[in-house]
Structure formats: C-alpha cells, structure tokens
C-alpha cells in the first residue's frame, strides 16, 4: 500500500523522460506516437506515465497501465524493452514545428 501511494505521487509524464530517451533515439521522442500492446490505445510518448527516471525509465500506458516502453541504464550501456508496444511512429526529419 505504501509503495502504491508512493507511485501515485512520484509518477511523472513521459515528457519528463524525453531527455534520457534522446540517448537512444535520434531526435526528441516526446511527440512520437506509440501504440500500447495491452489495450491498443495510441498515446504521445510525452503523455505516457513515467516512473523510475533515476534508473532509466518505465513508461506506462495512461489507459491500462501496461509498461509500454522500458529503458534501463547500466553504466555506458542502455537497453530498450519495447515489448509493451505495438508500434512507435516518430518523425525523424527536423522540420516538425
């Protein structure tokens, strides 16, 4: 219960994880659209719920809580777990406004 309450007040927006995500994505991914494998909802990465930014990031679907994107950091190595996502659509040119 304590852990749950802690999660309630410490969660952030996917937007807050955008900085750490730029380490693995070419560009800034908070506007990218990601489709949740749990419920099929499409969300902007910036609108996901973010947890654990100290250690990487866990980004959960705001509709069903599925962990859509997980990023782990271990020293100079990062790993990206996208099994909770059906797809990620991201603009790669720099012409977006």
């Amino acid at each position: 219960m304590g852990e749950f309450e802690d999660e309630e007040t410490t969660r952030l927006d996917g937007n807050a994880a955008a900085g750490v995500l730029t380490q693995v994505f070419c560009g800034e991914p908070s506007g990218a659209l990601i489709v949740c494998a749990g419920c099929g909802a499409t969300s902007a990465v910036g609108a996901l719920m973010a947890y654990g930014l100290e250690l990487g990031a866990i980004l959960r679907c705001p509709h069903c809580d599925t962990a859509v994107l997980r990023l782990g950091a271990a020293g100079a190595t990062m790993w990206l777990d996208l099994r909770g996502a059906v797809s990620l659509r991201m603009r790669v040119s720099d012409s977006a406004s």
């Binding site: 927006d13 937007n15 955008a18 750490v20 800034e28 930014l53 977006a96």
Partner: protein, 249 residues
Amino acid sequence: MAGTAIPGRLGWQLTRLVEKQIETPRVMTLRLESEAWPGHLPGQHVDIRLTAEDGYQAQRSYSIASAPAAGRLDLTIEGLADGEVSPYLSEVLRPGDHLELRGPIGGYFTWTEANGGPLLLVGGGSGVAPLMSMLRYREAIGSDIPATLLYSSRSWDEIIFREELERLSADPAISVIHTLTRSHPDGWNGYTRRIDAAMLAEATGEPESGRLAYVCGPTQLVENVASALVSIGYPPARVKTERFGPTGG
C-alpha cells in the same frame, strides 16, 4: 523556432550562471547563458547534470521560465532542503560558475501561437514556471489569444512572479486568479481552497471550441485538476500535463 531544429542527438552543454534572483523564501531563478543555446519552445524543460569529484552524477529536470531567446534561459527552482540537486543550485552555485545541461527537451507540453486557444494555465507552486514561459512568450510576440492563469500557492508570500503577473494582467485578454491554500493576508477575498472543478468552471466560463489547458505542478494537484477539467467538459486531448512529482507545491 530554433528548439526544434536540432538534428540528431541532444548532447550536454555548459552554460554559465549570470545571476540568481530570489523569487520567494523557497524559490529562486537561475539566469543562465550559453552561446550554444538555441532557444526553446514555451513549456519545454532541461535536464541538469551535476558531477561530484568522485564521478557520482545526479540529474534533475527543470522547466524553463523565460520567454524563448537564443543564448539565454531562466530556470525557476525550489531549493528543497532534502533534495540532492536543488540545494546545490540554490546555495553553492555562484554567478560565473558553469552548469551542465541538456535541452531544450519536451515537444509535448509546449504552446506557441499556432496552437491557438483560449488558454487555461493551471499551476501549483513552482509549476508556474513553464506557464510563465508561455505568458512571457505570448506578451513578447504581441498575441491576443486570451489566457487565464489559475495559480495555487501556499501563501501570499509564496506567489512566484507576483508583481509580474499583476503587470501582465493589465492586458484585458489576460486573467490571473490566485488561490492561497495555507494562509492568506487579512482582507483577502480570493480563493483559499485547493483547485477543484467548481473553481475551474468559474475560471473558464463558457466552453469554447479551441480551448486548451496546460496543468503543471505537484503530481497530485496535476492529476486532480486534469480529471476535474475533463469532468467539466474539456476534451482529454486538450488537457496537457506536466507532473513535478511529490514536491513543488
């Protein structure tokens, strides 16, 4: 705007602290400059990285409070006594010192004139920072898009940017509404409770089709306000949130 034109990865860059400005007993603004700073979009943030002599690193995100400008930016931060990064920024860092940051970051919680309005900005504590960037930008470009700021502070003395907000609200298209949740001066006839659906409905008036809401502050405030906005008829996709975690208000 320049902030969107960075190709590829966003690296760490060194900025220089020009000035510290005390805003309230718990909040200060760090005025930073860097020739490499490209400017930002109102609402964006930066990641700050501190490295200790033994190599230990700590990282935090802070919203940009200034209007977009190449070469400089203001970060408005709370000097939380038990934090790892904020006390260093507020107490140890001196003008002329360098600070490592990565940004501008966050293409989601941003507003420019092209996004339209009317705008409803809802902030708690230092969550007002990115909303202030939007209001300062709106003034700088001479936009006539109506904007309402509903701002929750603990007390009169803890209202950040109080005088500037008074000045901005001389514009008839801008309305600034305060609620003081812990204590208030004698004769205060404004709100004294936490932001709720009734307050939001009074602040926004009649529903308008283009209306857009930005909510920033402690996580609990943001989540309460976001669901209250949806309950009074805001389309969920028109409510953007920036949670600051358990602190900040």
